[in-house]
């Protein structure tokens, strides 16, 4: 059966749009970390953060390590492709601003003992923009 040439760009556009639109059906994390002393609590809350600096599993792991010392953080789920961290915490022991502060704190490089500044910056918290990407 003869086909018009315009069918090619139409198929290209339709398939690309379907791919982008259908991506929400395939959502999965890059990393899931449950903190060692995460005692279960009925009131746990989750802060959804977009964090500049979370680019891959490695950088997500390092960001998660920033929260190790913070009491009350229960779980962290990272979606590296979207620079997103979902941090579940006990609101009786910590808060979203405290988590943000811990994430944005200087990062210790164990090998050299040096601190790296500005590695992570929370640019969005629970859907609300709180800083520009390049601030």
């Amino acid at each position: 059966m003869r086909a018009p040439a315009w069918i090619i760009p139409v198929l290209v556009v339709v398939c690309t749009a379907a791919g982008i639109g259908g991506s929400r059906l395939l959502v999965a994390p890059s990393l899931v970390h449950t903190f060692a002393d995460a005692a279960p609590t009925a009131d746990a809350r989750t802060a959804q953060m977009v964090v500049e600096g979370v680019k891959c599993v490695d950088t997500a792991e390092r960001a998660v390590a920033q929260l190790n010392e913070l009491d009350g953080v229960l779980k962290c789920v990272a979606y590296a492709a979207r620079a997103r961290l979902d941090v579940t915490y006990d609101p009786a022991r910590t808060s979203a601003p405290a988590i943000r502060e811990a994430l944005e704190a200087p990062v210790l490089v164990p090998a050299t003992g040096e601190y790296l500044f500005g590695l992570y910056q929370v640019v969005e918290l629970d859907g609300e923009k709180i800083a520009d990407v390049d601030d």
């Binding site: 059966m1 003869r2 086909a3 018009p4 040439a5 315009w6 069918i7 090619i8 760009p9 198929l11 290209v12 398939c15 690309t16 379907a18 791919g19 982008i20 259908g22 991506s23 929400r24 059906l25 395939l26 959502v27 999965a28 994390p29 890059s30 990393l31 899931v32 977009v50 500049e52 680019k55 891959c56 599993v57 490695d58 979606y79 590296a80 492709a81 979207r82 620079a83 640019v123 990407v133 390049d134």
Partner: protein, 269 residues
């Protein structure tokens, strides 16, 4: 159609370059990897076995890869001819080289014998694909980044692009001057992954022997160097449906696009 395809290619190249520079300058969190379907294949193993994405890959990569397979079953390697920014760059290089060196076609300095060409297209590309996938699945890292011409060019010196990456790029561009589209034809792992679906592709070009004068203009203008004038129906898994052949054909109706519902006849290239 030629103009429309050029508009597609230019827009996508410009969008990729823009995204790469913005990400490199820290103005955006969307990198050039976000929309790369090959990232979807690289992370597929991890997704289906552990429900985790590898390295920087995510759901958009995987969904675009699945959509790309569907597109390829319908319209062969239209992605390569209409969308892929690396494909566009190598095609433009091949066209430039053809004009500068006054070549009659895209066979390059050393036309590759058909058997060798086929062996390289299948064997070498599959070897590259296998190597990349095994390395990615073993390390959990997108190890191909530093060798990927798309990433090297558009990431604006992104993560994993080292000095040797530019040597790889220069070598590929050099190779492309003497062997047009060498990357796409013999090395691209995404091309290898799409090849089986492309062979089964439903949209194909057919040559009407009653109208065809045998002038060979189609062969000379095919960037993939396919023997259009020697087959009745073009079933090659390499056709990108760029339609350069139909644009070059001086005889109306000699080449037409067909929606093929029949299984692929044997013995066609």
């Amino acid at each position: 159609m030629k103009r429309l395809r050029l508009i597609f290619q230019l827009s996508i190249v410009a969008a990729a370059a823009f995204a790469g520079v913005r990400y490199a300058l820290g103005k955006s969190l969307v990198s050039v990897e976000t929309y790369c379907p090959f990232g979807g294949l690289e992370t597929a193993w991890s997704f289906f076995t552990r429900r985790r994405f590898s390295c920087a890959a995510g759901e958009t990569n995987l969904a675009l890869f699945i959509a790309l397979i569907v597109l390829t079953i319908l319209a062969r390697k239209a992605f390569c001819g209409w969308v892929c920014p690396a494909g566009a760059l190598f095609e433009w290089e091949a066209k430039l080289a053809r004009r500068v060196f006054k070549r009659r076609d895209f066979s390059g300095v050393w036309p590759v014998p058909a058997k060798v060409d086929r062996a390289l297209k299948i064997g070498l590309r599959i070897a590259v694909l296998g190597l990349v996938l095994v390395a990615t699945w073993k390390t959990g890292e997108l190890v191909f980044r530093g060798y990927d011409p798309y990433y090297i060019v558009f990431s604006a010196h992104g993560h994993d692009v080292k000095a040797w990456s530019y040597l790889v790029l220069a070598a590929l561009l050099g190779l492309g001057l003497v062997m047009p589209m060498a990357w796409c034809k013999y090395l691209c792992p995404l091309g290898a992954a799409l090849w089986p679906a492309s062979i089964a592709g439903r949209l194909r070009l057919a040559r009407n022997e009653h109208h065809c004068t045998g002038c060979g203009a189609c062969d000379k203008n095919c960037p993939q160097d396919l023997p259009v004038s020697r087959v009745k129906e073009l079933t090659s898994g390499e056709c990108t449906l760029c339609l350069e052949c139909t644009a070059a054909c001086p005889t109306p109706q000699a080449l037409e696009l067909r929606w093929s519902a029949v299984p692929r006849p044997k013995g066609k290239r």
